[in-house]
């Protein structure tokens, strides 16, 4: 059988094989060298813990995912709104954009405690932290996208006497979509990271039930297999978010944008 390297099968098969190989080596090494489970648990033990503590861990996953989803949603809403404002007025962009950058470069661990003190509801505080982490790629990419209009098409709209609103809806927004989705792919992961980091910082002051809290607790109790299981869930959640956003981007862009066009196998 002749499997082409870029075929759909290979795209799934190759990384899966590498993963399985890694897991097998890990399992082998842990058993061969008799590594104690409180240092490095074997993959099998991690899986067993995941099943045993499923109720606890999946409950926590739900809490973290809820924060992530709210943060991503508000990052999209506010990020896109800000981008609209920026392209409508150069002055507004000039005066506000540097602060968006400022927010981006300030480490969230440094501001999270403040936000947690200021905002009484811990869940809302976490959402705000994660939003701050996730919003910048949306603002920056959408602004670029809204400005990246084909000049010829812009002229055509001018010839048709299209109004500002018509131009925004029919020309600027569609032109910005590929950029927006590129930003969304980054922001999805960032929202999750933001949620986890904020929860770590909040510690017992937070919702005291997310995955980060479980990791914190498991670390203190030296329950390393559970720590690994929680870690695994976070990673899987991140991958799932990326996958979802990619599917969304694909659905929106597949018929026309270069980034979503596959070469035929």
């Amino acid at each position: 059988m002749n499997i082409r390297l870029d075929s759909r099968l290979m795209r799934v098969l190759a990384p899966t094989l590498v993963g399985l190989l890694g897991l097998a080596l890990w399992q082998l090494a842990v058993t061969a060298y008799d590594v104690p489970f409180y240092l490095v648990p074997s993959p099998a033990l991690v899986l067993k813990t995941l099943v045993q503590d499923a109720a606890l861990l999946f409950g926590s996953l739900g809490v973290t995912l809820r924060v992530t989803a709210w943060a991503l949603a508000s990052a999209v809403v506010f990020g896109v709104l800000l981008a609209f404002l920026f392209v409508q007025s150069r002055l507004l962009e000039l005066s506000l954009f540097p602060y968006a950058v400022l927010l981006q470069v300030t480490p969230i661990v440094a501001i999270a405690p403040l936000i947690i003190i200021w905002v009484s509801d811990p869940a809302i505080a976490l959402v705000i932290c994660a939003t701050i982490v996730a919003i910048f790629p949306i603002i920056s990419n959408t602004t670029t996208g809204l400005r990246s209009v084909d000049p010829g098409l812009a002229e055509f709209f001018r010839l048709c006497k299209a109004g500002r609103w018509q131009t925004l809806v029919r020309l600027r927004i569609p032109s910005a979509l590929p950029y927006f989705f590129a930003g969304l792919k980054v922001s999805g992961g960032l929202a999750l990271i933001g949620a986890v980091v904020a929860e770590f910082v909040a510690g017992t002051g937070g919702t005291a039930s997310g995955l980060a809290y479980q990791i914190l607790l498991a670390g203190l109790q030296l329950n390393i297999p559970r720590l690994f299981a929680a870690l695994l869930l976070i990673t899987l959640a991140g991958v799932a978010i990326f996958f979802l956003v990619s599917v969304l981007a694909h659905l929106a862009l597949r018929r026309w944008h270069e980034s979503e066009l596959r070469s035929e196998p």
Binding site: D150, C160, K161, R170
Partner: protein
């Protein structure tokens, strides 16, 4: 330096090359060969072409001493006077870079002239004054062919039922009715250009500006669209201003061909194509057609060689 008069009535014009002829050397005037009329503007000033005397009411485009110098100092158009009557089919013919697109874009109001003025005929309020076919397709990549073509009508808030009828007609005209649901990137370059043409024809504007619309098309499609565009011009009583590099296309389509020259972009002269409508495809094979082409080629050569292969061809190449 001795002026080089054009020997008229013999069917032979003295051709100038880039090196030994300068602007202003030619005798201006209206020359005729049999009954083909060639107008030569020695320069843009002090010479009044016959249509200058026409009544203003019939004028669709009045270009009055227009210049366009780009910010980088390039004189794309220099002191151009041109008056296009309503109902004319005028073609701008000239080598690459002589300012044809610039002139068209100024007429459409996309770039302002740096000197002079352009006036368009008054148009009915609420109706699009002009349609424009750009030199490249400039379609919305995210919209299907049909949605691209209906854009001008949607922007003008036309009722849905009417839009569908207009779009269907325009797509049928360019022979693309069967790909209405395709996306631009799924079409060939020539097909994209035809979509762009359909989009311009969809809104019945009285003035149609076309910038080399058929450049990317094969000979057969081009011939068919030449006929379609002439039929449409006659049926809708359009005024068409058409840009091309092709001498034969200019002759076949136009009632008048304006010959331009580069550096600086200016009008060299014009040839009236006094042939009745409709013109059969066989017109291209007649000696008269060849004669028109020869006159235009000679006129182009007066401007010196451009970046094109057009000027400098030996006359009679089309016979």
């Amino acid at each position: 330096m001795q002026a080089r008069p054009l020997r008229c009535r013999t069917g032979q014009m003295t051709k100038g090359s880039k090196h030994d002829v300068q602007q202003g050397e030619f005798q201006h005037g209206i020359w005729h060969y049999g009954n083909i009329y060639v107008t030569i503007y020695a320069d843009q000033t002090g010479f009044s072409s016959p249509e200058r005397r026409l009544s203003l009411a019939a004028v669709a485009i009045d270009i009055d001493g227009v210049s366009r110098t780009y910010p980088n100092g390039l004189r794309a158009i220099e002191r151009v006077d041109l008056r296009v009557q309503a109902g004319e089919f005028v073609t701008l013919l000239g080598p690459s870079g002589c300012g044809k697109s610039t002139l068209l874009r100024m007429i459409a109001g996309l770039v302002p002239p740096t000197a002079g003025a352009i006036r368009l005929q008054p148009f009915a309020p609420g109706r699009a004054p002009l349609s424009y076919v750009f030199q490249s397709p400039t379609l919305m990549p995210w919209a299907s062919v049909a949605r691209n073509v209906r854009l001008p009508l949607e922007l003008a808030d036309m009722p849905e039922a009417e839009i569908a009828r207009h779009v269907g007609e325009a797509l049928a005209l360019v022979g693309l009715a069967d790909v209405a649901d395709f996306y631009p990137r799924e079409l060939s370059g020539g097909m994209q250009m035809r979509v762009s043409i359909a989009r311009a024809l969809v809104n019945d504007a009285p003035l149609l500006l076309m910038d080399e619309p058929f450049g990317a098309l094969d000979e057969i499609t081009r011939g068919r669209l030449d006929q379609e565009i002439r039929a449409l011009w006659a049926r809708r009583a359009l005024t068409v201003l058409f840009v091309t590099h092709s001498v034969t296309e200019a002759v076949f389509l136009s009632t008048r061909v304006i010959v331009m020259a580069p550096r600086p972009g200016r009008i060299l002269g014009e040839v009236s194509i006094a042939e009745a409508h409709p013109r059969a495809d066989g017109f291209r094979l007649t000696p008269r057609f060849a004669e028109y082409c020869a006159r235009l080629t000679e006129l182009l050569a007066l401007g010196g060689a451009g970046e094109d292969d057009l000027p400098g061809r030996p006359s009679g190449a089309f016979v």
